[in-house]
């Protein structure tokens, strides 16, 4: 351990919900995205799932909202080292979308892409079984554009760069294909509890 002379850190209560290397951002919700925030209305928003599936499908806003609603209540963790506790997102579980397209047995990974062209890769197992959502509400209100509104992917058990803002679609693949930050040196999976920040961690 390399102790920094004179550094004590801020007084803190032990928080079992805080992954290693993270701090509690409290009420703050920092915005981090590399691209210009798109002007995308709900009427223009679409979400497509294709690749290794029986039946590719594209949903518009109303069709997506006709699926059974689902809420995530819990914490989120950003690789830039803030975490946010007790957030509440409303939307639809990704399982509901995948049930419609029926993934092939050979599908192992997904590439999520956004309406800006941002991409991020995930193992299929990380977005199935109640672990991922398409979210359009935050705290009961429409998700704001700078946080990915009208709709974003939400994969709260991984670092938040995996939760692609302005989500446009998922492509199912039989191999892992690095996305935007992963090509820029970030970890392929991004589990905050294992501090998988950068490739090689």
């Amino acid at each position: 351990m390399n102790v920094t002379r004179g550094f004590t850190g801020r007084p803190r209560a032990h928080n079992a919900g805080l992954p290693p290397g993270q701090y509690d951002a409290g009420d703050d919700w920092p915005v981090l995205s590399a691209e210009v925030t798109p002007e995308l209305s709900p009427a223009e928003w679409t979400f497509r799932v294709d690749g290794l599936v029986e039946e590719p499908h594209t949903w518009d806003w109303d069709e997506a909202h006709a699926l059974p609603g689902s809420v995530y209540e819990g914490d989120i963790h950003c690789v830039t080292s803030w975490s946010k506790f007790g957030v509440r997102f409303g939307g639809v579980s990704l399982d509901a979308f995948l049930d419609v397209v029926r993934p092939h047995g050979s599908a192992t990974h997904v590439v999520a892409y956004s309406h800006t062209g941002y991409t991020t890769n995930l193992p299929l197992a990380d977005v199935t079984g109640g672990k991922a959502w398409i979210a359009w509400e935050f705290d009961g209100k429409p998700l704001s554009p700078e946080h990915g509104g009208p709709a974003r992917l939400l994969v709260p058990h991984l670092y938040f760069w995996k939760s692609a803002k302005w989500i446009a679609g998922l492509r199912l693949l039989d191999q892992d294909e690095p996305g935007f930050w992963e090509q820029n040196g970030y970890h392929a999976r991004g589990n905050p509890w294992e501090e998988q920040r950068y490739s090689g961690d």
Partner: protein, 257 residues
């Protein structure tokens, strides 16, 4: 090993914004924590100072890249934050960071009130090739506050290498006293003052009138725009650029949270 047919083709999204793919990031450097020894502190403004470090095994960086820095308390508590690299790449074995003193800030507070030459911290990097500028394309740089830090690395690189590729910097600060690197700017820079300006200069937010003339003098191949600062500033500046006709896929943004 058996040959396997790859069914799903490699995937490019149906949109224009894409990874530049022209800058490789060293995974080894990004994964490795190194000791950085503080060698010098230079005051820039009442709220910002530059910290010079010796990092003997530093792998080098490109202007615009950042690093992760961590401080460790006696009880094992660790605080880590991202900081842009202020120095040009060819500063062998040394890097410089410029930190704003954030009110109540855990890491910037330690730097501004405790740190002295000889102190050791840990860094890993350089990180993120996306915001980097190797000096190859005409660059239009727009920053506010400490958002000027990675842009200054680009300006310094441009000078040190004697590059002729066009480079312009628009930088916003509250007042002349708060303009970081004020003494180092040259003809490439236009400062904008939001609260108090030198005599005869206007006071006000960065506006279309600042951006339009720069976009009017399009260099061959067009500008690559780099925007850096707080999120509010990044939103504002990137909208100005889009409104003035800069293509969205040629705007790179670094938001300090």
């Amino acid at each position: 090993m058996t040959e396997q047919a790859v069914e799903a083709p490699s995937f490019t999204p149906p949109t224009r914004f894409a990874v530049p793919g022209r800058i490789a990031v060293s995974n080894r450097a990004a994964a490795l924590w190194q000791t950085a020894t503080l060698t010098e502190i230079r005051r820039e403004t009442p709220h910002a100072a530059t910290y010079r470090f010796a990092v003997p095994a530093w792998a080098g960086h490109l202007p615009g890249q950042h690093l992760m820095l961590r401080l460790t308390a006696e009880d094992g508590y660790v605080a880590q934050r991202h900081y842009s690299i202020a120095s040009a790449p060819d500063d062998a074995g040394h890097i410089e960071l410029t930190l704003d003193h954030v009110e109540g800030g855990e890491v910037s507070g330690w730097f501004h009130t405790v740190a002295q030459p000889g102190d050791e911290v840990e860094v890993r990097g350089p990180l993120s090739g996306f915001f980097a500028w190797p000096g190859d394309r005409p660059a239009l740089l727009i920053g506010a506050g400490s958002g000027v830090v990675p842009l200054m690395s680009m300006v310094r690189h441009h000078r040190a290498q004697g590059l002729s590729v066009p480079l312009r910097l628009l930088v916003s600060a509250r007042s002349p006293e708060e303009l970081i690197y004020a003494g180092e700017f040259g003809a490439e820079t236009t400062p904008v003052f939001t609260r108090r300006a030198p005599q005869g200069a206007p006071v006000g937010r960065m506006a279309a009138a600042h951006v339009a003339p720069l976009l009017a003098e399009q260099p061959p191949g067009g500008w690559e725009a780099y925007v850096c600062g707080s999120n509010a500033f990044a939103e504002h500046a990137s909208r100005l650029l889009v409104a003035a006709g800069q293509p969205v896929e040629r705007i790179r943004i670094e938001r300090f949270g």
